[in-house]
Amino acid sequence: MTLSAILIVSAALFGIGLYGALSQKSFVMLMMGLELMLNGSLLATMGFWSLALGGAPKGQLLAIIIMAVMAIELAIGFALIVAVYRKRQADVTEALETLAR
């Protein structure tokens, strides 16, 4: 288990997440792509902390911040989905071609 292997796995997760975030029409599936990208970031942070920082506690703090970002993204994302659905009755990105109506 080397740092390079961990970072390559995290890059793969990030790439798959980017594919999902760019390709999916549904808002919820789009958020899944974003979550997968953050998943890759979290793995890379844990790998750096464990294998390159000698276990410095600030590395774990950064990972905790990434987890907080995940929670915030999910909560605000779902709230926006509800708000957009109330206003436009839309659940796919194609329905938001114009910002104002």
Binding site: M1, L3, S4, A5, I6, L7, I8, A11, L13, F14, I16, G17, L18, Y19, G20, S23, Q24, K25, S26, F27, V28, M29, M32, G33, L36, N39, L42, L43, M46, S50, L51, A52, L53, G54, G55, P57, Q60, L61, A63, I64, M67, M70, I72, L74, A75, I76, F78, A79, I81, V82, A83, R86, K87, R88, Q89, A90, T93, E94, A95, E97
Partner: protein, 239 residues
């Protein structure tokens, strides 16, 4: 190769495979659980990396998050159970190319960069260090994250509220058209369609209300409150 290495490669392969399958299955609920499995694999890799708190927190937090996501899948997706084949994608080739490009670029950077090597000592009390850090030097950062989460909760409640600052948040809501710029899709209320609140149709306020219950009410959503033509006019604001 030690047992830890074998476990790492198995978990890594599983995390990538489940992450990929998230976007390939027809059932949205299965996609949610596959994403949960991917997160769980990463959490277990964290345990292998001596990050016991982070690994466990990842698994617990993501279990809850994915349950919420599954709930939203059922609420908003047309095919949550995967009974029919479904591929809701756009710009598919561009997305594949972008994903592959970013993976290749990051992998190239990893392979070409001389990475430092300073692994965690086996006897290092990482949990104690983290606790001291969170309640010591980095307390302000930790507290800031807590306040940010509180602000997130408030923002989520405000955004998803049924009633906004300027009235009902669904006022004037119409379904999107089937084509770009086309007429609204779905059933229209009988009492004058999306213009159900106009004065001439005010007498049909009750029918407009029925349309609103169907979720396609448009301007008739306020007409439903009306008992006479006057209130039907009020519904015109919604249209």
């Amino acid at each position: 190769m030690t047992m830890t290495d074998v476990a790492f490669y198995l978990l890594s392969g599983f995390a990538i495979w489940t992450g990929w399958r998230v976007f390939r299955v027809d059932s949205m609920i299965r996609a949610t659980f596959l994403l949960l499995l991917s997160f769980t694999s990463v959490g277990l890799i964290g345990l292998l990396l001596s990050a016991s708190y982070l690994g466990a927190a990842t698994i617990f937090m993501m279990a809850v998050e994915m349950m919420v996501m599954g709930l939203f899948m059922v609420m908003f997706m047309m095919n949550p159970a995967g009974l029919n084949p479904m591929m809701m994608v756009h710009q598919h080739r561009l997305s594949i190319v972008a994903g592959l490009l970013i993976f290749a670029a990051m992998t190239g950077a990893v392979l070409l960069t001389p990475l430092p090597s300073d692994p965690v000592a086996a006897d290092r009390p990482v949990l104690r260090d983290l606790g001291i850090e969170l309640l010591g030097d980095s307390m302000l950062i930790f507290e800031t994250a807590g306040v940010t989460l509180l602000a997130t909760m408030l923002g989520a409640v405000v955004l998803s509220s049924r009633r906004g600052r300027f009235g009902p948040t669904d006022a004037g809501s119409v379904p999107p058209g089937l084509s770009a710029g086309g007429p609204p899709a779905g059933r229209q209320p009988k009492g004058g369609g999306s213009h159900g609140g106009h004065g001439g149709h005010g007498g049909h306020g009750g029918q407009g209300g029925k349309g609103a219950h169907d979720g396609h009410g448009g301007g008739g959503s306020h007409g439903g409150h009306g008992k006479n033509g006057g209130d039907g006019n009020h519904g015109g604001h919604g249209g």
